[in-house]
Symmetry: C2
Subunit: 190 residues, 2 copies
């Protein structure tokens, strides 16, 4: 693979990543991506066989991005509680986009749940990454139901994003994420 080609491929993925988030997968056309990148529509088929393949590449990119974000959380501290708080801070820091467009992961999964099974299971991969990482943190805290707690934390963050976006309410977003942090700090080994 040539250097130039890889560059174009990357630019297509990056533009698709933004558009799939801001407009949704189904509402993003090849023309939209072409307008942003300056790469002609027909050229996309040199890099990807179908639109679904672009989605797969976008999801794989997101997995790598979140892997790096989780490593950043790991590097903040050895304390698993503080690591989880650091992760919550990521959503807190993307206030504007979450209120405007929702959670990139959750909104994509919700959209693709109404499409084919293949697309949905692909989009789920990011959630699986986060769940496993969260589960490890809860395990390190010493909780026996670490996986359940991971699902609960993901669930409450998703609910917070859905409501903050539906009501365009950034104050709710901050309050709810603050409550989530209190919940994490209050968790005790029973």
């Amino acid at each position: 693979m040539g250097t130039k080609g890889e560059n174009n491929r990357t630019r297509i993925i990056e533009a698709a990543d933004q558009l799939f988030y801001k407009r949704g997968y189904n509402q993003t056309s090849f023309s939209d991506i072409a307008d942003i990148t300056g790469i002609p529509r027909g050229n996309f088929y040199y890099y990807f066989k179908t639109k679904d393949d672009i989605l797969a590449a976008v999801v794989e990119t997101r997995v790598k991005q979140y892997q790096e974000a989780l490593m950043s959380c790991d590097n903040v501290t050895d304390n698993p509680r503080e690591r989880l708080l650091a992760f919550i801070d990521i959503m807190d820091g993307s206030e504007d986009s979450v209120v405007d467009t929702g959670c990139p992961i959750g909104s994509l999964c919700s959209e693709l749940a109404k499409d084919t099974d293949a697309l949905q299971s692909k989009s789920r991969e990011v959630f699986e990454l986060l769940r496993d990482w969260m589960s490890k943190q809860f395990e390190d805290i010493g909780l026996v139901d670490a996986n359940d707690k991971a699902m609960d934390l993901l669930s409450r963050m998703q609910g917070t994003a859905v409501m903050a976006c539906a009501f365009k309410d950034s104050a709710y977003l901050h309050r709810s994420l603050g409550d989530l942090k209190s919940w994490i700090n209050s968790l005790s080994l029973s």
Copy 2:
């Protein structure tokens, strides 16, 4: 308006309601609705000026349906806690469709957040109805932050639906809704 016409109009709304839920608003075409109802595509414009108008009619139908559902919860008991539990049971009872397709209200709001502002604010109306009803129940319990609690309950139900659907996990759905019920019963006046 004639009887026959009103009947056709209602059938269009009902078919659109199902399709907007199962496939999404943007992925539902007039042809899809025509196939189900047997009413030709071109005929739709006698009843609705645009597709957006069909959405508005669907949302208004849903508002009425949920108003009736809330009245049923009100009729179960005078106890506000038990009324809230009865509402949670509604989602628990639609296990299959929630795991398959998500929450009808939340998934529509999430989808339309990426479309026009007009569509999104229309879809929000169902959420507003539920929030106000929940807020009244929390108020009757005696909580000073009733509106916050209403947002929290809606939020946790939405998160539960997003995760249960993303992971195709009905066991999680039931466990999470059970936890929500415990949370409601444990709420005390501080």
